[in-house]
Symmetry: C2
Subunit: 379 residues, 2 copies
Amino acid sequence: MSTDTTTGLQLRSLIKKTGELELSLARVPTPDPGPDEVTVRVEASPINPSDLGLLFGAADMNTAKVSGAPANPQVTASVPEKLMRAMTGRVDDAMPVGNEGAGIVIKAGSSPAAQALLGKTVAMLGGAMYAQFRTLKAVQCLELPSGTKPSEGASCFVNPLTALSMVECMRREGHTALVHTAAASNLGQMLNRICIKDGVSLVNIVRKQEQEDLLRKLGAKYICNSSSPSFMDDLTKALIATGATIAFDAIGGGKLASQILACMEVAAVAAMKEYSRYGSTTFKQVYIYGGLDRSPTELARSYGMAWSVGGWLLTPFLQKIGMEATQKLRARVVAELKTTFASHYTKEISLAEMLQLDNIAVYSKFGTGAKYLINPSKG
Amino acid sequence: MSTDTTTGLQLRSLIKKTGELELSLARVPTPDPGPDEVTVRVEASPINPSDLGLLFGAADMNTAKVSGAPANPQVTASVPEKLMRAMTGRVDDAMPVGNEGAGIVIKAGSSPAAQALLGKTVAMLGGAMYAQFRTLKAVQCLELPSGTKPSEGASCFVNPLTALSMVECMRREGHTALVHTAAASNLGQMLNRICIKDGVSLVNIVRKQEQEDLLRKLGAKYICNSSSPSFMDDLTKALIATGATIAFDAIGGGKLASQILACMEVAAVAAMKEYSRYGSTTFKQVYIYGGLDRSPTELARSYGMAWSVGGWLLTPFLQKIGMEATQKLRARVVAELKTTFASHYTKEISLAEMLQLDNIAVYSKFGTGAKYLINPSKG
């Protein structure tokens, strides 16, 4: 571990006007903390699906090449021309990456809040975590209980708060059970644990037998496999049994959101006494929070008029529920960090190893069950 | 005009288990009004797009045949087999049709509210209006100012309240301007008059030059033609000029809803200072209130995460805003019935004429500019 803290490596993602993505490690000066700030030596930062959009942009990673010395590699890949328009806002701007992480506070500003964190292990949210050092406001840090390793606190925010917020959103919008797609993901497993603990019915949608088996082993009660010929019937039965009228969908593209609404409607109509050509009055909501399938969402609209499909993001949701409610969610994450909110990683890599093609090939793919943790202190 | 009021003709729409639609005129006894009820001789009832779903169900009206005596015709047509499942709730149930209408109160129950309406011209909402007599609660009637003809009050509810509710919904959900599709419709013209009167910016989307010309003549400021090669640019400019972030879409199918969201996002991003890979935080809403295009809605999701597409219906909206707010809207309709909310009809037909194929060919098509009024007192 380097003892020089005045500069450190930082991963940069650059999309050039010429249509080329360039990933590199820059050596950048570590900013001194202001009065309300601390400097953290980052020792753990997960690669979440939500990081990959900024990391790779619209580049086709099948075209990726690596060059440079092993300790200072550079990855280049091409961005398809028709996707460059969507990149306009970030062209020629080398961007730091990494939504969340954890590490040790090595410097602190003069304020009591900052001083109180000196030497502590903290979890952080705020971007630019794929770096050896990160100077940020003390309030952006969550102090972890002593005895917590940075690797245990690396994923304190994105997945735990997202999973908790889904249940919170369900309750606030008047639903009593929920549906989740890509449900065997790290996030999905967390949501499954929350729902079991809180006694909330969860309908898990997966697309592979092994994902079904995994969730079954983790105690999930309702699991529907979208690859099965009986999927629509299975889902309808699960919706009748649970009364779920809200879904959180990580897939986005294709017909899945529409199928969920259609099955919710069949479940709702089954409980109706009178025919209405407008369908049921039961309000059905699908929130799309990911885009594992980038193709268009196709809505058949065969489910009456009481439905909505919309984008859903953690940060605006937390802003909507306010500081106090958010604090409650954060406190629960810390209290259950090693149980409900434990994350499991298949591999720990350095920043330089993050730029190796064989690693990229694994962590750039979704749904493989692999989850990588970066340890920038390894270089 | 028949002087026998004990029975009257009523239009019935029946979908048989065998996959056949049958439209006929039944002679039904006129129910005597209860204490809180009145019996109305229906003299005017419009054919709204929202009536056609119940009238024709999923039948293919290209297969329509007529039989029976001219005074008592029967229309039959086939329902495509794959659409029969959606008809399950109404199979073998002969349903009366007609959402709204107006007429003269010929009998009244004993309550003061009912008695007060005797002999008055009233507008009604409540279904089964394609009939010579309609017995209903006095509270379902809206007394029209003396000197108002039934034909002038026939369309008091569906289009006027829908147009007013769109503006009301826009305000309540925090938007300041709106977009409307199929904007040259009777409803669209009404919305245009409301917006001009209230000083609300309205972006009208049409698909034909003559619709553009019509709205221009009616004082519309922002008109975008979706058939024009410059449509996306024109729409974006209109959205930047108006700041509209909510749209009411009568089309439903295809890419239009998605195009509106995409242009709203370009308008929102144009006002942003910093790049965000999640797009703008400006919340963009499209409400689908009709289905002129029955094909699936295709959402490209190229507009960040702050968006929603959902079904929208008048009745649930009015329930949501409550009785008092609804009363205000109704009062405005009556006050401006001959100006803002005037409807224009291309033809007045009897119930029997409604079952003639040449008339069906006209009123079953949308967007032709033709609007028919039924006068059941003509037989």
